[in-house]
């Protein structure tokens, strides 16, 4: 599709969508967002990019094959679940680490839950792009 408007708009839009998708992923625990929504937004970014510039360009921008991203996401999510076992908790119990914790401020929270959410993000991103790219290429 050769549309100058789309091409010009895409450059801005894709960058915004990707940044926004990560923002949605990170804020998800306290405000609307999360890995699923973040992954959908990120996927939308690449889908728009693929429509404007073709799937080959989009694939090279993604660097990794989308199906591999999806599977890696599944692996990361599983890892996040298994992590709890090493701390003596049941499978998929959230593990938390608060960096710089004070009495009234929790500081910077790091958790296995976030790792799990990152896995969800990658699964959604990778799966949708797997289907979209394959569909576009086969048409």
């Amino acid at each position: 599709m050769n549309s100058i408007i789309l091409l010009a708009g895409t450059r801005l839009l894709v960058a915004l969508l990707l940044v926004f998708s990560i923002y949605m992923l990170l804020r998800g625990h306290n405000t609307p967002g999360g890995g699923f929504i973040g992954g959908l937004i990120g996927a939308t970014g690449f889908v728009v990019y693929a429509i404007a510039c073709g799937t080959e360009t989009a694939r090279s921008a993604l660097r990794l094959a989308p199906e591999k991203i999806a599977m890696a996401g599944l692996g990361i999510a599983l890892f996040a679940g298994v992590m709890a076992v090493f701390f003596g908790d049941g499978f998929f119990t959230g593990q938390w680490l608060f960096i710089g914790e004070t009495e009234d401020d929790k500081g910077l929270p790091l958790s296995s839950v976030l790792v799990f959410d990152v896995g969800v993000y990658l699964v959604v991103l990778g799966s949708i792009l797997t289907i979209c790219f394959a569909l576009e290429e086969s048409v």
Partner: protein, 760 residues
């Protein structure tokens, strides 16, 4: 497996390899570990280990060593070590030797777990693991269709039995309130007196009988001889097929002692034993012959486990050990013959003793034990069997007659398998150049056969260490086990023994005539093996028929069937529960609600009436956005965002696909549309009804309250939806994203695969 993998004596090829030696070492260590448990166990102690596995379901990794499991454990590890040593030489240079040894070790571990398990569900897991490893080992020679068929047959048959067994175990757990075998045993007659006793018994027996190849489930075992000989010696004579026997012995205190148990086991055992003995005589392939004698042994063991008196159970325990010793020896010997000459046909073999003296020695001793000649342990075992048969509560004469017939046939088969190939005067074909096996292959047969002689001369070695504790484990310590003696005086068992010798030698002499007669008879009888194929064919036909019916390949019909199922399922439930009436309280609608309703209705109408695909998809998009707006109005922003994003992506996907789709077809308007419309209205009405029903009653807010209260203090998150997704219900989410990945890979394979198939 007749094919020799390497020529013997090809020096150079090392057999003392890592994959050859490590399994032997593992088995030997386990054997030594179990060995040191003999003194305390024979003194009446019981060793128990337990770790929690799934405590909420009452599943524990608990293991128990008593007389019964110790006997099995020693057989498994001891024969295992010798067979592993043998196998590393037998398959020396085979490209998949390492794989083979791995399967063998895995099997040993599973079998050991099975006999040591003290928890029914743990036992079941190991039970299934032995089925799977047996499948892998039978199908080891996977390039041949015969091996594949035999492997699949064994897997399906024992797997089906395994499912029945699981159901039986769950019923036992429900009745007894625990899955721990030792606790169930302590409850005594609770199971026997319960109304569910009969279903439990049938299910457990289905598992045990398929695993231990009782008639009419026997046919998988002779077919399993497609496996390499070490497997036949180890799994399909000495250990795995005895898992069913082990289970019968293990469940004996809780399920045994009733008339149903007594008669079922007696009949199945006797029929299997006699039938298998005749079949064994009929075979000309040494390995097939041995396979049927194994069946005979399994039948005999079942027969004796039917009773609950000391003599019968002692007979079972003794015969169990004796059989493993001589049968493993004979299988290994047949393997050596096969390895050295390339054939297992009795007609082609003879006079091998000169070239293979050590093999002939081992085979001779094992066969004498099998035939029941003194002073071998087989003789004592036979005497005890007769004593046990005469003492059973069911029908002593019949049982004794069955045992006599089976024993006589056994004697004849022992002659066929290990006398005729070695001593018969026969000029071997020129291409058969027999030579003695090497020591790793000879060690097993010699040790196992010599043990048969040793135990025969000193029966107390066996009785005090294993047999008596085993009997005590089955019948309880207060029951007196029968004495193992070489000379018990002139009594009825001795007379029966002499009759056995006469009958057996007679059968051996006239074996050829009997064989011909049996073959003529066999052609008229039902062939179970072919029947099995018919059953499988029938199953495939059924699957094809129902696939054609439900999965026509037309998307519209899939949807129709799916929604029809929904309609019938929910509608049926509503009618059955009499929940048709519903009160509608008309709510106050604000302007924003009206706007959303209008949007959804207008979108739906557009989709239904338009003849343009683009317009239809736009209409659906409007409906989707309307739904998203509803989510926003009622305070579910996460769901709304997801809905909007999915709508967007659907439009993109459709845009791509639309290029390829044909024009909307108007011809269906008259044929299927009225029916579709009817179903659509029906489903819509029913979903509406359900929604009204749900909202009419007071909402159960316990979960909501719980999540609201704990989301921040316990999971450190304020967005409850997300906290539920990634923390409270993380396992569900994990399952869902796994489905997403699978769906994506499926679509990927479909799209990419189609591209490759199409000629460009």
């Amino acid at each position: 497996m007749g094919a020799k993998t390497t020529t013997d004596g090809a020096a150079g090829a090392r057999w003392l390899t890592f994959e050859g030696l490590v399994p032997v070492a593992i088995a030997a260590l386990l054997f030594a570990w179990l060995w040191q448990a003999i003194p305390p166990i024979s003194a009446g102690e019981v060793v128990r280990y337990s770790w929690d596995w799934v405590p909420s379901l009452g599943i524990a990794l608990s293991f128990l060593i008593d007389g019964l499991s110790l006997t099995f454990g020693l057989l498994i590890t001891g024969i295992g070590a010798l067979v592993f040593l043998y196998a590393s030489k037998y398959l020396q240079g085979h490209p998949h030797l390492a794989r083979f040894m791995l399967f063998l070790v895995l099997f040993m571990a599973s079998m050991l777990g099975l006999v040591l398990a003290d928890n029914l569900l743990t036992l079941f897991v190991f039970w299934e693991l032995t089925t799977i490893t047996s499948y892998l080992l039978i199908g080891f020679d996977h390039a041949t269709s015969k091996a594949r068929r035999a492997a699949l047959q064994a897997l399906l048959l024992t797997g089906t039995g395994g499912l029945a067994l699981l159901a039986g175990f769950i019923l036992i757990g429900t009745v007894a309130g625990t899955f721990e075998l030792s606790e169930i045993r302590a409850q005594g007659d609770v199971l026997k007196d319960h109304a569910l006793y009969l279903p439990i018994l049938i299910l457990v027996l289905a598992g045990a009988f398929t695993k231990s190849a009782q008639f009419p489930f026997h046919f998988w075992l002779p077919n399993a001889m497609a496996a390499p000989t070490p497997v036949s010696a180890y799994l399909h004579s000495a250990t795995m097929v005895k898992a069913g026997i082990y289970l019968l012995a293990r469940m004996h205190p809780n399920l045994g002692g009733t008339d149903v148990w007594l008669w079922t086991l007696t009949i199945f055992g006797a029929v299997t034993a006699v039938f298998a003995s005749f079949m064994a005589l009929k075979q000309t392939d040494l390995k097939q012959s041995l396979a049927y004698t194994t069946l005979m042994a399994l039948g005999t063991l079942t027969l004796f486990l039917a009773a609950d008196i000391g003599y019968a159970i002692t007979a079972a325990m003794t015969f169990l050990i004796v059989h493993s010793l001589y049968k493993a020896t004979l299988f290994l010997v047949v393997g050596i013959i096969d390895h050295a000459t390339g054939t297992r046909d009795v007609h082609k073999l003879g006079g091998l003793a000169r070239a293979m003296p050590i093999t002939a020695f081992a085979a001779g001793i094992a066969a004498l034990s099998m035939a029941g000649f003194p002073p071998f342990i087989g003789f004592i075992s036979k005497e005890i069997k007769y004593a046990g048969a005469l003492a059973v509560q069911s029908e002593p004469v019949l049982v004794a007659a069955a045992v006599l017939l089976a024993n006589a046939l056994m004697l004849a088969v022992a002659g066929i398998v290990s006398f005729s190939p070695f001593w018969r005067r026969k000029h071997l074909a020129d291409d058969l150049k027999p030579h003695e096996g090497t020591w790793p292959m000879l060690l097993g047969p010699v040790i196992l056969a010599s043990l048969g002689a040793l135990f025969g001369l000193f029966p107390d070695l066996l009785a005090l260490s294993l047999v008596n504790p085993g009997v005590a484990a089955i019948l309880g310590p207060e029951v007196e086990p029968a004495q193992l003696k070489l000379w018990a005086g002139v009594n009825l068992p001795l007379i029966l023994s002499l009759a056995t010798f006469a009958l057996g030698i007679g059968i051996y002499v006239y074996r050829q005539r009997l064989r011909d007669a049996l073959r003529a008879l066999g052609e008229r009888l039902v062939n179970f093996d072919r029947g099995w194929d018919r059953v499988l064919d029938g199953l495939k036909w059924l699957a094809a028929w129902q696939t054609d019916l439900i999965q026509s390949g037309v998307l519209r019909r899939y949807l129709f069937i799916t929604f029809l199922t929904l309609f019938v399922g929910i509608g049926g439930t509503i009618v059955a529960r009499g929940a048709l009436s519903v009160e509608i309280a008309w709510p106050d609608l604000l302007l924003k609600h009206w706007v959303v309703i209008t949007l959804i209705v207008a979108g739906a109408m557009l989709t239904l009436t338009t003849s343009s695909r683009i317009a239809a998809i736009a209409g659906l998009g409007a409906v989707g956005i309307g739904v998203a707006l509803i989510f926003i109005i009622f305070g579910a922003p996460d769901v709304a965002i997801t809905q909007l994003l999915v709508e967007t992506l659907v439009v993109v996907l459709f845009g791509v696909a639309a290029l390829k789709l044909p024009r909307l077809d108007d011809s269906g308007r008259k044929t299927h549309r009225p029916l579709d419309a009817l179903l659509a209205v029906g489903v819509g009405a029913i979903v509406t009804l359900v929604m009204l029903q749900v909202t009419a009653g007071p909402l159960d807010r316990r979960l909501t309250t719980y999540f609201e209260e704990t989301s921040w203090p316990e999971a450190f998150g304020r967005n409850i939806v997300n906290v539920i997704l990634v923390d409270f219900r993380a396992l569900d989410t994990f399952g869902e994203i796994a489905v997403v990945v699978i769906a994506a890979l499926g679509a990927f394979a479909l799209l990419k695969g189609r591209k490759q198939d199409e000629p460009r």
